[in-house]
Every structure is written in C-alpha cells, then in structure tokens.
C-alpha cells in the first residue's frame, strides 16, 4: 500500500484534471442536492420552485454538455473510468432533452400532480437517473457500467412505483425491480468472470481483449453474454424484454415515456461502446451474428405481439421492443455512418415516443380511454390530438414525410452498405425483415386512426378539446418530426463525428 503513497498526489491531480470533463455531471450532482433541499423547505411556499430549479439546472447542464461538444476529450478520464468523447456527448444531449421533456410531461400529468406526495422527489430522482445515464454513455469501465446501470435502474424502480396509486402500478414496480435485479446480478456475475479472464475492468484496455481471446470461446461467450443480459434489460431486446409491456402499461404514462426513451438510449450508447472495444475480436462471441439474430427475433416478437394489443401503452411498449430490434440493426452496421444514423434515429425515436405517450396520456385524461376500442369516434371530438397522434404514428411506422422515415432510410442505408461490404446473408435477411415488420407495425398502428376516425362510438360522451400545455408540446414535437422529415440536415448537420 505504501508503494502507492507517492502516487496519490498524482492521482489527485489527474482527478482534478478529469473534473474538467465532468462539469455537466457535477452540476447534476449539485442539482440533485439542491432539488431535495428545495423540495423539503420551499415547495410549500413556492409550488413551482422545484420545477423551476430543475429546469434551470437542466438548462445549465445542457449548456455544459454543449460546451463539451465543442471540445470533447480524446482520452479517458478518471483513470479510465469514463470517456467523455464526442459520441457520448451527443447521447448526453439527447438524454438531456429527453429529461427536459419528461420534466414538462410530469408537470402536465394529472395523476402525478394530484398525488399528495408531490412531484418534488420525482425531480430529484430524474436528476439522479440522468446522472446515471450520463455515466452510462461515457463509461469505459465495467465498474462504471454496473454502477451507472444500477443508478438508472434503482431510480427507474422508484419512478415506476412512485405513486403506487393502484395495484397495477405496484405490480409493475415489483416486476421491474425483481426482473431488473436478477438481470443486474447476472451482469455482475458476468463481469466478475470477465474480470477473472482478463484481470482488468477497463474494457478499452488492450489487455481486456487479449485476455478474452485467451480463454475458450464458451467461457468468454458466457461471460460476455451475461453482461449482455444487463444491457439487454435496459434495451429490452429478446429475451430480456418480458418486463417491458407489463411495466409500460402499469407505470404512470410520463414514466413510461421516459423509460421507453432515456434508459434505452443510454443502453444503446453503452452497447456501442462495448461493441466498439470488442470489435474485430473473433475470440469472443461473434457479436455481429448474435446481435443480428437477436435483432431479427426482437423485431418479429415485438411487432407481431403488438398486433394483439388493445391497451395503447402496451401496444407502444411492444412497438418499442420492435424498434429496439430495428435500432440493433443499425448498431450492427457499426460504422461511422451507422453511428450517425443511430444518433439521428435515436433522437427522432425519443421525440416520437415522447410525443406518442404525451398524446396517449392526454387522451386518457380527457376521455378515460386506455384501450384502442375506447378510442372509437374520438377522432371527431379531439381533432387536433388525433391529427398529431396519427402523424406521430406515421413517423413511428417510418413512412414519409416524417423524420421516422429519414431515420429508417438511414438505418437501411447503413445496413445495405454493410451488406455491400460483407455480403452477409444475415444482413440481407435483417433488412428484408425490417421492411416486413414495417408493414406489420402499420397493422397495429393503424388501429388508432381506425378506431378514432373510422368507427363510431356507441355511447356519446361530451368531450371538448382543451388545449393544454401538453398538446402544445406535442404539437411542437410533431412539427419538429415533420420538419426533420423534410429537412433532416437541420439535425444531422449538427452531428459531426
């Protein structure tokens, strides 16, 4: 131990240097404490205090992230723990926007607002989760992966069970927690095995690769596979997707929206990171093939199951599973262009899902309709809402002229390019499957306009469309989706990798 003493000051220096790259997270940390304090002491007097503070704080975080975007770090910091490079910064931007949207979403959700617990804690948890997600996208160390995933998970468990107003909510929270815990335990075990094989936790370390290559493929496969379980839980791809529909259905809608976007995007960032370092190794699992298979099954399982759903949130949950499969396709394509396509797709995906859940939430609040068959005839009564909903769903399907289409186009482009270079049949099959499930997805998305516009309700209910903040927000999101569908360079020109 004494051998290291002289190094301590050096290490401290490096930590302090590293802090330069850590401003957003530092702000988040401070914000977390401030929000808790504010909530404890000021929320009685100033109802909006927590909200204002959080949004302001997120603004500051965003500012720092943008600063970081201009000067990303080329190396890892905090002794190889995190790597705040450009790619991760882009993800952080998306995550920050998602959190901001979530914040606005909570503000306009009756269920959450009317709960006597208030939303103060939720804000704090959001910040903590965002902190975790930021770490996730930056992590370059197994420990950091575990740490950040747990941070996000624990936060999300609380979010899902935050109100516990109904049996379903608690059930969702329990399922989420138990399933998540098992998954993260498996991941941890996998990590311990990897650690055993390689002797290092830093997965960018060359030793990491060589260590993995030195053991049998079965061993390394099992170890890495178990790590994948943890990430798969976040991404909810097959077979780690089981929790998704139940939790999405049970959780409060804003939380569902957040779960479908934030942690998932962070999970993808993590996956890219991990694959990046594993890339090229034949010793470890042939990840391309495996991920390809998983992507295929996920697309099919998600989209086909969605056909049967009646609950809107559940349907969206399955569709998000399907989307995971599709995004995996672009992860597979795994080139710079693939990453760019991925970032674009993920940002669009976040916007679309947020908008979709907001609209579903709005409809539920206005008419109490949770299920598709309760949407009957609502198209006439809530014209703007359903107009927006249809556009969002069109975008989710991936049809022009929406941003979803451009995203799909980019993903297909990346995949086809990969096919061109590798000639792998699997990729071709994946591409075709991707096209097929687009059709299938239409099959269930169309149920929304089908019920809302084409069918008439049996019982007449008086509903007037009051334009709340949420509607304006989703209108704004929809417009962005449309504009990006026609002029995608407005967004992509920012993404320079």
């Amino acid at each position: 131990m004494n051998d290291f003493l002289p190094n301590i000051s050096l290490m401290l220096d490096s930590v302090l240097d590293s802090l330069l790259w850590f401003y957003p997270e530092l702000v988040l940390g401070i914000l977390f404490i401030l929000v808790i304090i504010t909530d404890l002491f000021f929320s009685k007097r100033f109802q909006n205090a927590v909200f204002l503070l959080t949004s302001f704080g997120l603004g500051v975080v965003g500012y720092f992230i943008l600063l970081q975007l201009n000067a990303p770090s080329e190396t890892t910091v905090f002794s190889g723990m995190i790597r705040p490079d450009k790619l991760s910064t882009y993800f952080k931007v998306i995550l920050c926007v998602v959190s901001l949207l979530f914040l606005l979403f909570i503000r306009d959700n009756k269920e959450l607002k009317s709960h006597d617990k208030g939303t103060g804690d939720l804000h704090a948890i959001l910040i903590a989760v965002l902190f975790g997600m930021n770490l996730m996208v930056m992590s370059s160390n197994l420990l950091m992966i575990y740490l950040s995933i747990e941070m996000v998970s624990v936060g999300s468990y609380i979010m899902v069970g935050y109100i516990s107003g109904t049996a379903k909510q608690t059930e969702a929270a329990m399922k989420y927690a138990l399933f998540g815990a098992v998954c993260s335990a498996m991941m941890l075990y996998g990590m311990s095995l990897v650690y055993a094989f390689t002797g290092t936790l830093n997965f960018i370390d060359p030793a990491f690769l060589s260590g993995l290559s030195s053991v049998s493929t079965l061993s390394s496969g099992i170890a890495l596979g178990m790590i994948m379980v943890g990430i798969g839980f976040k991404l909810s791809f097959v077979p780690m997707h089981f929790w998704t529909p139940d939790v999405y259905e049970g959780a409060p809608t804003p939380v569902t929206a957040f779960l479908a976007t934030g942690p998932k995007i962070a999970g993808f960032a993590l996956l890219i990171r991990l694959l990046d370092s594993l890339g090229g190794t034949k010793a470890a699992l042939d990840f391309n093939e495996i991920l390809g298979g998983i992507a295929l099954i996920t697309m099919i399982a998600g989209n086909f199951s969605a056909i049967w759903q009646n609950n809107v949130k559940r349907m969206l949950a399955y569709s998000s599973i399907g989307h995971t499969g599709f995004i995996l396709l672009s992860v597979l394509a795994f080139s710079q262009a693939g990453q760019k396509a991925l970032i674009f797709y993920l940002s669009i995906y976040a916007l679309m899902n947020m908008a979709a859940f907001m609209l579903a939430d709005y409809i539920e609040e206005k008419s109490g309709a949770k299920n598709l068959d309760e949407y009957k005839g609502l198209g006439q009564k809530l014209p703007l809402t359903f107009f927006l909903f249809v556009i969002v769903l069109v975008s989710l399907t991936g049809l022009p002229p929406t941003a979803g289409f451009i995203g799909k186009l980019l993903v297909f482009s990346a995949a086809l390019e990969m096919y061109n270079s590798t000639g792998s049949l699997l990729v071709m099959v994946l591409i075709i499957a991707g096209a097929l499930v687009t059709l299938v997805s239409l099959f269930y998305y169309i149920n929304v306009p089908l019920n809302a516009y084409l069918r008439q309700s049996n019982h007449e209910v008086e509903i007037t469309e009051i334009k709340t903040f949420k509607i304006y927000l989703s209108l704004f999101l929809t417009i962005i989706i449309l504009v990006l569908g026609i002029f995608p360079q407005l967004l992509t020109s920012f993404i320079v990798i």
């Binding site: 329990m174 399922k175 138990l178 399933f179 098992v182 493929t217 079965l218 496969g221 099992i222 596979g225 379980v229 097959v238 077979p239 780690m240 089981f242 929790w243 529909p245 139940d246 699992l285 495996i290 099919i300 399982a301 989209n303 086909f304 199951s305 969605a306 056909i307 049967w308 299938v440 099959f443």
Partner: protein
C-alpha cells in the same frame, strides 16, 4: 373538293328532319358531282397527317376511285330516299329527333366509311356504323326484344370487328402503313410482297406465310360479320326489330354491304384459300338463307333472309373472282332491296293504322294476316312487284343483269374447278330459283287473294311522300339505269367501271345464253306455281288448306323433308347444314351464343369466386398468420415475473447450447 363539306354537313345534321333531309340532299348532290368527276377518271386522293406513333406516321384522308365514288353515290342516293320516306313513316314517333340524329350519324359514318383511305379510319367508321345500327335497332328501347336484338347485333359485329382489327395488326406489322393506296394500289406494298420458302417478305419485314392467309381470313371474318354471312348471320333477322326504314337503309342497302365493300377495297390481300372460303361461305349462306326464307311468315324476316341470301351471292362472286359482278350486284341489290323494305314498311305502316282504326289485334308483319292488298294499295303493289322481279332476276330488271353475271361467272369459274366445287354454280342457280319462289310467295300472299281481316275499313295507300320515294326507287330497279341492253351484262357501265382494274369477262357463248334462258324460264314456272299456291286462297288462309292441294303439298313436304333430314343430321357434327331450318338456326346459333354467354357468365362467376375466396383468402391468410405469430410470442407474457425469468434463462441457455454445442 367538296367532299369535306358534305362530311361536315352530315355531322351538323343532328337536329330535326328538315336539316337532315337538306343535308342528305346536299350530300347527294355533292356526291353526284364527285361521281361524275371521278368515275372512270383518275382516282383522287387527299390526305392529311393524322398522328404518328413511333415510326409510323398515320394519315387520314380520302381516296376516291370508281369503287368509292360509286358507293358514295349509292349510299347517299339510297339514304336520301329513305330519309324522304322516313318523314312520313316516323312522323308519329315521340322520339323523332333522336331518330334523325341517329340516322344522320349513320349516313355520315357510312359515307365516310366508303371514302376514307386508311384502314384504321375505315375501321373506326366500320365500328361506328355498327354502333349507329345498334342505336337504331334498339330505337324502340322499351321493347325488350329490340334491345336484345340491338345487343346481339352489336356483339356479333364486335366479333367480326376483332377479325378486322387483327387484320389491321398484321398489315401494320408487315407493311408499316395502313394507307389503302400504299397497301393495295398498283405497285403497292401487297403486290410487292412475296412468299419465299413459307416466309412472307415485304421489304425488311417478314412473317411466316400463314399470316398472309390469316390476314385475309381476319378481314374476311370482319366482313362476314358485317354482311351477315354464315355463321355470323344470326343478328340480321333479329335486327328487323328496328324501324322498317332503318332496316331498309342499314340492313338491306348499305351497312351490310360494307362487308362486301371492304372485301372489294382490299381485294389483293386475299389468297386462294380465303377466296375458296369465300366461295364456300357465300354459297352456303345464300342457299341456306333462301331456303329459310321459303318458310318464313314474317314479312320483314323473309326480306332479311333474302338479304342474307343475296349478300351470300355477292360473297360468292367475290370468291370466284367476279369482283365486278359482285359490286354490280351490290349496287342493284341495294336499290331493289331497299325498295322491298320500304314497300314492306308501307304495308306494315298502313296496317298499323288500320289496326288502330279497326281496333283489332293481329300481327302486322305476319304475311298470313295479309292478302289482297293490291286492291287497296296499288302503287305500293306496283313498286313491290318491280322490286321483286328484280330480286328474282327476271329479265328487264336490274337484278337480271347483275345476278346473271354472277351466275355466268360462277359457271366459268366452276369449269376450272374439280370435285365438290364444281357444284357451286348449280347451287347458285338453285338458290336463285328458291329466291324466285319465296318472293313470289310473298307477293302473292300479301297482295293477291283477299284481305284476311274481317273488318271492312279500307286499308289506305301510304301518303304521297312515301309514294314518291317508292317510285324513285322503282326507277333503279329496271334495266335502263344500268345497261341499255336488257340482256347483256357486258354492256353495263357499272360493271365496266368496276372491272377496269380486275379482269375481263370471258365466257363460252353457249353457256352465256343458256343459263339466263334456263333460269328465267324456270323462274317463270315457279312464279306460276306460287300464284297457284298462294293467290287463289282466300279466307282464313290456314296451312292445312294449302296442304290439301296435292301438288303443293308435295312441294311443301319436300321442303320440310329436307328440314327433317337436317333435323336428324343435326345430331351428327354436320351442324352447319342444319341451319337450313330457321328453327334450328335459332336453336343452334342462338343456342351457341346464349351458351357462350352463359358460359362466359359462369366463368365470370367462377373468377369472382376465385377472387373472393382464393386470392382474398390468401391475403387474409397472411394476415392471420402474422396474427398467430404474434399470438405465439405473446403467450410468453403470462404476467408472472418468475416465468419471465425462467423463460429468459431458458432462452439464453438454448441459445448458448445452440451456439457452442452444435
């Protein structure tokens, strides 16, 4: 040239009788001018660029030679007379304006048909006359049978049109032009094309030689539908459902002649096979229709079958190469058949009045209900008599000239043929005799004897306009209009005009004298017979009474014997002979048509079934497959969190096992 103007006048003439008459008169005068300029002169040809498709530049234009000039004069002349006649005939019809409109449209398209120089344009007008004929047949559209008949006529014509179109396709394909002069003129594409080693070569294009025959066959097919030749003749008798004036113009004089005209116009295309086919078709049709006419009782039906028979004659003439004789017969036939119809129309028209006045019910078209009308309607009778004589081909009439020429030609032709074909002229003679008989029967039944209705209100002579038009036509039924020598076909100027570019009549003298003499003689004998049979009867006019007369009974018996014979043969595949009987005719042709219709309907129903259950079924099946895939995947979603974990781990294990132990 004034031709363009009359086309315009005709098109404009869509309103009211006055304008129609006026315009048709203009047309007549103009076409007369045209005729005098063109006849035996230099053929005239005008054309304008119509449109181009690919490398084809299609032109539309007018080609005037002896053929078209003669035809246009004929058409406008007959049309004028029929227009005149119609003023009176259709006067009381509530939809008079529609009638004039249709009639004008018809005249326009018919006249255009005969002058145009491009096969495609010809085809357009060809169909257009079919269409107007459809309109006019179905003019009384409230009557179901009229509508049916119209539809039948149109469909039959359409079948033929397909042939025409196919012919056009072949020619366009082979020669790249549809211009009649370029194709069929002297030194035209057809004459330059040759057949070598079974390949039909024209310039750079070549096709198997069989396509030449097929092209001829296709056009021929078009022609037989239009000219109501066997086996596509069944529409014409039905077409009598239209107004009689229409029948006379369209279904006797002009439109049906279009088929013959077409053959004349594109004569060079036909090779030996098709010509032979023409002979066969022509003779069968003429004989069959004549025999059918023998036993018909409906006035117009008799005339319709007679028309078919005469057209068969023309077709026969075409087939044996007597191009000129056929056209000559076409011309004379147009006039006398038109006259016959108009007279029949007058009779029917007046009987209608009579019926209304006497307030009794009977069929105005059934000759069994008539008789002795010569006393009431002498002028009509006279006209009809002349026409009938022309039809029968008695000397001093126009029919004698033209029919004789055909017979002579056919004898000539037969001398160079062997086998069954040498019987053709005899069949023709037989037909001619049958013609004499049935027309005599008609005349005697209608005009002689005594009127068979009990009421004593006189049947009146038709109004003067009708009379005038009848008399005008009578003029054309006598020989001087066509040849100064009533016995010499060769002197006929029309024949000369048409034969200019075809062939010169050459025949053995003996035959030339013998045949007309013989035919005439027998004809007179037959007329006498008919007069005995039909005119002496009076009163109820039942068939039984006729049957008792042994000699006539014998004759009749034979007629029916033949029919019965055919009845038996009908079972054997010689079905075409069975058409001698009109009853069977209806059964077979119509039966076939109906059968075809029904089978088409059945096919339609079948394909609907396929559509609904099989194709849609597959589509729906795909839907349900995708649903069931979804059903499988969602069955894992039991709601029990531990099941999820187990499934997850099992899936992972399976995956690893597959990955590493297989």
């Amino acid at each position: 040239m004034p031709l363009i103007s009359f086309v315009w006048v005709s098109t404009l003439a869509k309103r009211g009788s006055g304008i129609s008459i006026l315009s048709i008169l203009c047309s007549l005068i103009l076409s007369a001018i045209v005729f005098t300029r063109v006849w035996n002169g230099q053929p005239q040809h005008f054309q304008v660029h119509w449109f181009s498709v690919g490398s084809y530049h299609l032109t539309a234009g007018i080609l005037l030679n002896n053929l078209s000039a003669g035809m246009i004069l004929l058409v406008s002349g007959v049309a004028f007379i029929v227009h005149l006649y119609s003023i009176q005939y259709m006067r009381s019809d509530p939809y008079l304006r529609r009638y004039w409109r249709y009639l004008s449209l018809f005249c326009f398209s018919m006249m255009a048909l005969v002058v145009v120089d491009n096969l495609l344009v010809l085809y357009m007008f060809w169909e257009l006359v079919g269409f107007t004929s459809y309109l006019l047949i179905g003019f009384w559209y409230k009557r179901d049978y009229a509508v049916q008949a119209a539809k039948k006529a149109f469909i039959f014509n359409r079948i033929g049109d397909l042939g025409f179109l196919a012919g056009i396709m072949i020619l366009l394909n082979q020669f790249g032009t549809l211009n009649i002069t370029e194709l069929f003129g002297d030194g035209g594409a057809i004459s330059n094309a040759m057949i070598e080693d079974g390949v039909w070569i024209s310039g750079t294009h070549q096709m198997p030689a069989v396509w030449l025959t097929l092209a001829g066959g296709a056009f021929f097919f078009g022609a037989i539908a239009k000219s109501a030749q066997f086996p596509l003749h069944a529409w014409l008798p039905d077409a009598m459902a239209g107004p009689t004036s229409v029948s006379s113009l369209i279904h006797a004089a002009t439109m049906v002649a279009a088929g013959i005209f077409l053959i004349a116009r594109i004569y060079p295309i036909f090779d030996q096979n098709i010509l032979m086919l023409m002979v066969i078709t022509g003779s069968i049709t003429s004989f069959m229709a004549a025999t059918i006419a023998l036993v018909q009782n409906d006035l117009k039906q008799i005339l319709a079958f007679s028309t078919i028979s005469q057209l068969g004659f023309m077709m026969l003439a075409m087939g044996i190469g007597a191009y000129d004789a056929a056209l000559f017969h076409l011309t004379t036939h147009a006039f006398f058949k038109c006259l016959l119809f108009l007279c029949a129309g007058a009779v029917i028209h007046q009987l209608e009045y009579f019926k209304q006045a006497a307030k009794i019910e009977f069929d105005c078209q059934d000759i069994r209900n008539m008789g002795g009308l010569k006393n009431y309607m002498p002028i009509t009778f006279t006209a009809m008599l002349f026409a009938s004589m022309a039809l029968a081909g008695l000397p001093f009439t126009s029919g004698y000239l033209s029919k004789d020429s055909i017979l002579l030609y056919s004898f000539d032709w037969a001398s160079s043929q062997t086998g069954l074909m040498s019987l053709v002229p005899y069949l023709a003679v037989l037909t001619s005799l049958a013609t004499t008989f049935y027309i005599a029967r008609l005349i005697f039944k209608v005009f002689f004897g005594s009127f068979r209705q009990k009421q004593r209100i006189p049947v009146l002579e038709p109004p003067s306009i009708m009379k005038v038009s009848l008399m005008l036509l009578v003029l054309f039924c006598v020989f001087p209009m066509f040849s100064w020598n009533p016995f010499s076909v060769e002197n006929s100027w029309i024949l000369k005009g048409f034969s200019a570019d075809v062939q010169v009549l050459s025949q053995s003298r003996l035959l030339h004298i013998l045949v007309p003499l013989l035919v005439t003689f027998v004809s007179f004998a037959l007329i006498y017979l008919a007069s005995i049979v039909y005119s002496k009867r009076d009163g109820d006019g039942s068939v039984t009474q006729v049957a008792r007369d042994s000699f006539i009974y014998e004759l009749f018996y034979h007629q029916w014997f033949i029919n019965k014979l055919y009845n038996v043969i009908f079972v054997i595949p010689l079905m075409y002979l069975s058409r001698v009987s009109s009853i069977l005719d209806n059964k077979i042709v119509d039966g076939l048509v109906n059968g075809a219709g029904r089978s088409v309907l059945f096919l339609g129903a079948l394909s609907t079934f396929v559509d609904r259950y099989i194709i849609d079924g597959i589509v729906n099946l795909l839907g349900s497959i995708s649903k069931s895939i979804g059903n499988v995947t969602r069955h894992f979603q039991s709601g029990r969190v531990q099941h999820y974990m187990i499934t997850m781990i099992l899936l992972l294990l399976t995956f690893f096992i597959f990955k590493y132990f297989s």
